[in-house]
């Protein structure tokens, strides 16, 4: 009689688990950096808008316009990697079977979402560097190194609420419907948060509801980072953090329930 040990456990060393997370993030970054359909609009929309309205036309609106619009278009540039890079890609992959395969494979839990988050952070870092270069070298904006650093860090971390929103939307809509739904959130929110036109020229009703949108709060923080703020920081940061946590929890609940 042969005894077959069918319950022998194979130990995965901690180092290999960390390596799996890193590999996942690396693969996720590579695949989107090679996808011009995602990368080009994400990088070009905010930078071309800023170049037109902030750099070429901006100075006609006063000396602070290039600086003010750096904050607005910078915030606008943060939204797309979170909403599209995170949300739309997850929604599509729930539909194409990739997420099912990953769940069947022994991928460490969370590696998939963490990988997408790294990718979104990387793309936002690229957007921020492009925007800062345009502002400093073409827009004649003067920023101290500490303000540049603050703005950069704020923009990179600022992707998290939008990634959380994208994640939540992806749990509601899967497949080809997701890009449309995300655009319905993305473009109106940019407008209503005062990223394209200052809130002060908008109807008072729209001004009153602006604090509902995360982009409004990130924009206020970005204005503060470039030195045009009113010094109020923590309430906005608190709202963004709360928004992120709440949406991640909601999304996690839905993913657990419906997969």
């Amino acid at each position: 009689m042969t005894t077959i040990d069918s319950t022998a456990t194979i130990v995965m060393r901690p180092g290999r688990i960390v390596a799996a997370y890193i590999e996942e993030a690396r693969a996720e970054c590579l695949r989107y950096l090679r996808n011009p359909g995602f990368l080009l609009p994400t990088l070009l929309f905010p930078s071309v808008f800023y170049l037109m309205f902030g750099v070429f036309l901006g100075r006609a609106n006063g000396p602070d316009a290039p600086l003010y619009l750096l904050a607005s278009y910078g915030t606008f540039g943060v939204m797309a990697p979170g909403l599209f890079g995170f949300g739309v890609s997850l929604a599509l992959e729930r539909d194409t079977g990739l997420l099912t395969l990953k769940r069947a494979l022994p991928m460490p839990p969370g590696a998939y979402l963490l990988g997408k988050m790294c990718m979104a952070l990387l793309v936002v870092a690229m957007v921020s560097v492009i925007m800062l270069c345009l502002a400093v070298f073409l827009g004649g904006v003067h920023l101290t190194p500490s303000r540049i650093a603050t703005f950069f860090v704020l923009e990179v971390l600022g992707v998290l609420p939008f990634a959380a929103l994208g994640l939540f939307i992806a749990t509601l809509v899967k497949g080809q419907g997701a890009p449309g739904v995300v655009n319905l959130v993305y473009l109106p929110m940019a407008f209503l948060s005062g990223l394209w036109f200052p809130l002060s020229i908008m109807p008072s009703f729209l001004q009153a509801i602006a604090p509902l949108w995360p982009a409004y709060h990130l924009n206020r923080l970005a204005l503060d980072a470039v030195g045009l703020g009113d010094g109020v920081v923590w309430p906005h940061a608190g709202v963004l953090a709360g928004f992120t946590v709440a949406l991640v929890l909601l999304a996690a609940r839905r993913l657990r329930r419906y997969g």
Partner: protein
């Protein structure tokens, strides 16, 4: 039981989706080193059975076991390899990168180059997945399934969309994994695939295993054999013989279905000494499969 070679299985598993019963108390065992082919019509419960064994879903009732544990735990899944029927991998990643990523999930993966060689994709390692043909993509998916050094391999319709040569070489790769002691659960629509590879065939219909055994024993379920010949005997007269089930005449060639081929052949030769081109064939797995699922339908309708 210490002498148990069972490494995975379903016992009395039930699963419903709303009002649809997908699995109705199914029992299925997978033993070390064997290849089990799951056959059955669409909607029979093959995919649900695989989904449960992979931990993608939870059973409503019954027990799902993978290596003595719960397939929803990652540690048990580190011993399996998976090739799903419909998974679109990232098109912009290169084949080598996909192998490297998948290998990173496992504690002791195989050498990716060796896996590429087994799957016959060595020349594709630097190509982007999205640029490959359907058959090449299936071979890449097979390489990904074996890269973890699995003890149990799940292959869901692995040769769909492959030409005959590609199918033969994938079969050879599957046989190689079996020789190395890896067990395989294969679902397929191609009966010749099950005939070529399977130690054991499970026919699933209406959420249950309706028949299981070796390919030969499955075929023996169908007692009928087919006699084909060219003869001057009258087809209608032969149809009246007691042993004959049915007769078909096509372009001068007679096909007779019977359970007692020897008796019928003797009568044919006695009746027509000039008879030629005589062939006697056991029913293929296709007929066996049809007959078994038809029987189940009849039983269920009668019940």
């Amino acid at each position: 039981m210490n002498t148990d070679t069972r490494i995975a299985g379903l016992s009395g598993v039930r699963k419903r989706y709303g009002s649809i019963v997908a699995l109705d108390g199914i029992d299925l065992d997978i033993h070390r080193g064997e290849l089990v082919a799951l056959l059955g019509p669409n909607g029979a419960g093959k995919s649900t059975s695989i989904g449960l064994l992979l931990g993608l879903q939870r059973a409503d009732a019954g027990e799902v076991v993978l290596f003595g544990g719960d397939p929803q735990e990652i540690a048990t899944r580190r011993r399996i390899g998976v090739m799903l029927q419909s998974a679109e991998l990232p098109p912009t990643l290169k084949v080598g990168e996909l192998l490297r990523l998948t290998a990173s999930y496992y504690p002791a993966p195989r050498d990716p180059t060796e896996c590429a060689a087994i799957a016959g994709i060595t020349n594709l390692l630097d190509r982007r997945y999205g640029k490959l043909s359907g058959g090449q993509q299936r071979r890449v998916q097979f390489a990904l399934a074996i890269v973890g050094g699995p003890e149990l391999l799940f292959l869901d319709e692995p040769t769909v969309g492959m030409d005959i040569d590609a199918r033969q070489s994938l079969w050879a790769a599957i046989r190689r994994m079996l020789r190395e002691g890896c067990a395989v659960v294969l679902t397929t629509h191609y009966l010749e695939e099950a005939e070529a590879l399977a130690d054991r065939v499970c026919v699933i219909a209406k959420g249950r295993v309706v028949s299981q055994g070796s390919v030969d024993s499955l075929r023996a379920h169908v007692a009928l054999r087919r006699i084909r010949c060219i003869t001057t005997l009258d087809a209608a007269a032969i149809a009246a013989w007691p042993e004959v089930v049915s007769v078909d005449m096509q372009q001068g060639r007679l096909t007779i279905a019977t359970a007692q081929a020897e008796v019928v052949v003797r009568r044919l030769l006695d009746g027509d000494p000039a008879l030629c081109e005589l062939e006697v064939q056991r029913a293929g797995l296709a007929e066996a499969f049809q007959e078994i699922t038809r029987d189940t339908d009849a039983v269920q309708e009668a019940a």
